[in-house]
């Protein structure tokens, strides 16, 4: 393969991208070398198995991906508001909406939430780490390297351009030749395996490692949402894995599962994709619901209303989410009966969702609301999400969906649920638990600026899109070539830049707070913590809990505070068993990433070499008898006394 085929050439925007990647990479390498930080990076981060550090790495990566996906979005919006500029041509636009969608769902929303789960779930249930800390590191590196593999596509080889749904036959080898689509397949495959492993890992952690006395129905609601999400992951992700593998075999080895030739079944892809894809949208919304529940209860200074109903509605949503996938292609012509069944099952999801909305409202009833930044994000979620929910129900009415499908009405719907739901929750969760992670809060004043800019920008951006859809504007159109569509598109673009500004302020706030925020002295940063994560000191010691409290109620930390109990009961101290750090996860996954990269370019020998390397690492690991070490009582005493100022 000639070098000019390997690198993408001829696009000024992409040259700019290459230059900035080269600059940032050399800057990072320079700084690490100059400050002699390579060893620190390796010992403290790259080899870590500590769930808190892995969580932070997930969140950092997700923020970078949010930036990438956001840049894609702004480019698309610029093109649509100024069609005369000829900013992007059709091909370039198609690549951008494909990477935007994929990056946002797979490499932004999920890792952000998984990052928060990583940090918070063990703390909420009184565990000292994951059930399988080593696997947790493996998962992270699978996700991270998968994301990097997907992201280099725009400078090397060319980006995928068949949409995040990658429908066959369009995405097949015949109509989308070249490495672009392979980047999608291998990037998702690698990170998907990481997600599946995380699902199993967290599920076992929650089921087996809760504090003594803590029954399932004592668990904090965020932990519950994580558990339910893990079940969805474990049942849904294998479908994606298989679908991706089949398409890979089609494209690279010439099989004909989804092709037009050889009596392939192109619509089978659509079915498999959405059998995973619909549960996937609930994978990114249920944890968001969990975060909102925690934040709302904390800043309403009141117990969550209808705890049992909240849990059961999540379970019902999870079950229903596997029974509605056909609503993504009502227009396939499956017949009135099939569409009726899936219409009704789809609309039914609105019932448990509505129950949750009313429970949040009832939590506010007779409460005492404090408008902190996380609370603002959570409150704004309720009215904004409702607009996405009711339009979801309208889409679920199949006969009407024939008019909405593939239009901007649909685009507006899913951005209303995904942004007002998932993205608001990520921001709320990050700001809420920020002091637990970094030892200081984010500045509230700047945080409010970010919030209002983003919220107002969001509505200005997406509300007009409902009307564009009703006026017949299809999605994935690279040009606004019908004059009546232009005004609303311009408004929408203004809103998009508002959101961009909000995000910029948010990121600035991270820097500003790092420099100027007051450092936390207590573990209960907001003063109203209700669950166990707030009972630990800040910063959280690497073993989390010196002594694990006995829990037999919801919101145990409320009573602990009343009774003056802490997680440091000197009489009960025992040596703590902790896992050792290991370089194996990153090395193992690097081999698999190499194999994936080779498969993208269909370099089979290199792919085999990479796979063998990965398998060798796994073999090596199975003879690794290092099963951790003990933290001695003295050290625990020293650490806790220092942290508590005793």
């Amino acid at each position: 393969m000639a070098l000019d085929e390997f690198f993408v050439t001829g696009e000024p925007l992409i040259y700019a991208g290459m230059v900035s990647i080269a600059l940032v990479t050399s800057a990072i390498i320079f700084l690490l070398t100059y400050f002699k930080k390579w060893g620190w990076l390796w010992r403290e981060w790259l080899t870590t198995v500590d769930h808190k550090k892995i969580g932070i790495m997930y969140i950092l990566s997700a923020l970078v991906m949010l930036f990438r996906g956001g840049a894609d979005a702004l480019m698309m919006r610029t093109q649509l508001a100024f069609p005369g500029l000829e900013f992007l041509d059709s091909q370039h636009y198609n690549e951008i909406f494909t990477t935007h969608g994929t990056v946002m769902i797979i490499f932004m929303a999920m890792p952000f939430l998984i990052g928060l789960m990583n940090i918070i779930v063990p703390l909420q249930i009184g565990a000292r780490d994951f059930a399988f800390p080593f696997v947790n590191a493996v998962s992270f590196w699978a996700f991270f390297l998968g994301a990097m593999l997907f992201n280099i596509s725009f400078v090397i080889g060319g980006s995928p351009d068949a949409g995040w749904t990658s429908y066959t036959p369009l995405a097949g080898a015949a109509m989308s030749p070249g490495p672009g689509q392979n980047f999608y397949l291998m990037g998702l495959q690698l990170s998907g395996i990481g997600t599946l492993a995380t699902g199993i890992n967290l599920m076992v952690t929650i089921l087996k490692m809760r504090a003594p006395g803590m029954k399932l129905f004592h668990m904090p609601i965020f932990t519950w949402s994580t558990l339910v999400t893990c079940f969805i992951i474990v049942f849904a992700f294998p479908i994606l894995t298989v679908a991706l593998a089949l398409m890979t075999i089609d494209r690279i080895f010439g099989a004909q599962f989804f092709t037009l030739t050889g009596e392939g079944l192109p619509m089978m892809w659509a079915n498999l994709f959405w059998m995973w894809g619909h549960p996937e949208v609930y994978i990114v919304i249920l944890p968001a619901f969990g975060i909102f529940s925690e934040v709302i209860a904390t800043f309403a200074k009141k117990r969550l209303f209808g705890y049992n109903a909240m849990v059961w509605s999540m379970i019902i949503i999870a079950l229903l989410s596997f029974l509605v996938w056909v609503h993504h292609f009502f227009t396939m012509g499956a017949g009135a009966f099939v569409n009726s069944v899936f219409s009704v099952s789809t609309m039914l999801i609105a019932v448990p969702t509505g129950v949750k909305i009313f429970n949040w409202l009832a939590t506010l009833y007779k409460s005492r609301i404090e408008f902190t930044v996380p609370m603002l994000w959570s409150l704004a979620f309720i009215p904004s999400f409702i607009l996405g929910g009711v339009t979801g129900v309208m889409l679920g009415m199949a006969a009407a969906d024939y008019q909405f499908h593939n239009s901007y009405f649909l685009i507006a719907h899913f951005h209303y649920v995904l942004i007002a739901g998932t993205v608001f929750a990520c921001f709320a969760g990050l700001v809420y638990w920020y002091p637990k992670m970094f030892g200081h809060k984010m500045n509230e004043r700047i945080g409010k600026w970010a919030f209002w800019l983003f919220l107002i920008g969001f509505h200005i951006c997406f509300f007009p899109q409902y009307f564009l859809g009703l006026d017949g504007m299809p999605r994935r159109l690279f040009i606004t070539n019908i004059a009546e569509w232009l005004p609303l598109n311009v408004i929408s673009t203004v809103g998009a830049f508002g959101m961009g500004a909000g995000f910029a302020v948010f990121v600035f706030n991270i820097y500003y707070s790092y420099r100027y925020s007051e450092r936390e002295k207590t573990g209960d940063a907001w003063g109203h913590g209700r669950t166990l994560e707030w009972s630990t000191t800040t910063p959280v010691p690497f073993y989390n809990f010196a002594t694990v409290p006995y829990v037999d109620e919801i919101d145990p930390y409320v009573r602990m505070k009343e009774e003056g109990k802490t997680t440091f009961d000197e009489k009960k101290l025992k040596p703590i068993h902790m896992p050792s750090y290991s370089g194996q996860p990153i090395i193992m996954m690097s081999f698999f990433a190499l194999a994936s990269f080779a498969l993208v370019f269909e370099w089979i020998p290199l792919a085999i070499a990479g796979l063998l390397g990965g398998v060798a690492c796994m073999a090596f690991r199975s003879f690794d008898y290092d099963d951790g070490y003990y933290v001695q009582v003295d050290e625990i005493k020293r650490t806790e006394r220092k942290a508590r100022g005793l």
């Binding site: 041509d89 059709s90 091909q91 117990r303 009726s340 219409s343 404090e370 009415m397 690279f478």
Partner: protein
């Protein structure tokens, strides 16, 4: 605690929705020109009332809670109840009411779904028999074949008013969808299959039609105009095409199947006897012949799409 302004303008959203809706007689989907679009319009409007109701209730409750229960100096202690955490009665109410709404939405949805599988029946219909038109897509064009009339058009469509049209949809390559929002919702065209879509125009006029399902570079240019005209004018048009247009040869049809854009055309015969894209044998026809052409990029920009539009 300093009181921060609430997202009050959020309350304006449902209002703006009403204003928008009153001013949107022009929006295509809400301005139906035939019985199919009409039945979908009716369903949308029916559902919209429920949605507005839900929005008003939730926004109302939300504003009430946020205003009344915000933490402010000198607030009455008696309306703060930190341990209130459930009430079976009210929880049953807010589960059952949504369930009832779902039932009320399901009934018309299901009946409309079954109705749409049959040709529409209206009073001013001229004949009972639907007019059959095969609508076939190939990257990035539309072929409309009229088997009864023995004619075929490319990238434009003529239909008589007041008569149901039975579209038989299929594709020569990627999956697409036929969407004429003024006349009704869309359905997919898929190679190896044939889907059926009934539409009908009650008013004469020229409507926008397009492929609404993304299928690659030329997607934006895969549009067509629908000329709905009286039965007589339609028949006259058919006669014209029959007498004046050339036959569509197999070679020319193959040429047209190659990925790319093309202008409007008409023929006095159809491609239907050459290849059946909806059959198992015909499914791979295009890809088998022109496989290497799909890799080539058009680098289509706005100008070229504009240019294509002028043919419509």
């Amino acid at each position: 605690m300093k009181f921060k302004p609430l997202p009050k303008w959020l309350g304006l959203l449902p209002l703006s929705l009403i204003i928008f809706l009153s001013g949107c007689g022009q929006m295509t989907v809400l301005n139906p020109k035939g019985p199919v679009a009409q039945s979908q319009y009716d369903l949308i409007m029916y559902s919209l009332w429920f949605m507005l109701g839900i929005i008003v209730v939730v926004f109302g409750l939300f504003l009430y809670m946020v205003v009344k229960y915000r933490d402010r100096p000198g607030r009455d202690e008696s309306d703060y109840d930190p341990n209130l955490h459930g009430n079976t009665m009210i929880e049953i109410v807010w589960t059952v009411i949504p369930l009832i709404i779902i039932v009320l939405l399901s009934v018309p949805t299901v009946t409309t779904l079954f109705d749409l599988e049959e040709p529409p029946v209206t009073e001013n219909q001229t004949t009972e028999e639907p007019l059959v038109i095969h609508a076939t897509t190939a990257d990035w064009k539309w072929f409309f074949s009229y088997p009864e009339q023995g004619i075929e058009t490319v990238n434009y469509l003529h239909i008589p008013t007041d008569r149901p049209i039975e579209f038989k949809l299929t594709s020569a390559d990627a999956m697409t969808a036929l969407w004429i929002p003024a006349l009704g919702g869309q359905k997919y065209n898929m190679a190896g299959m044939m889907t059926k879509l009934y539409l009908q125009a009650d008013e004469e006029g020229v409507y926008d039609g397009r492929n609404s399902n993304f299928n690659g570079e030329g997607f934006a240019a895969q549009t067509f105009k629908v000329h709905a005209e009286s039965e007589d004018n339609f028949n006259a048009w058919v006669e014209d095409i029959k007498n004046e247009s050339p036959e569509l040869t197999m070679d020319q049809y193959n040429e047209l199947l190659k990925p790319g854009l093309t202008e409007k055309m008409s023929f006095s015969s159809t491609h239907l006897e050459y290849v059946q894209h909806h059959s198992n044998e015909g499914m791979g026809y295009t890809v088998e012949r022109f496989r290497e052409l799909y890799g080539e990029k058009l680098h289509l920009d706005a100008d070229e799409v504009e240019h294509q539009e002028t043919f419509d």
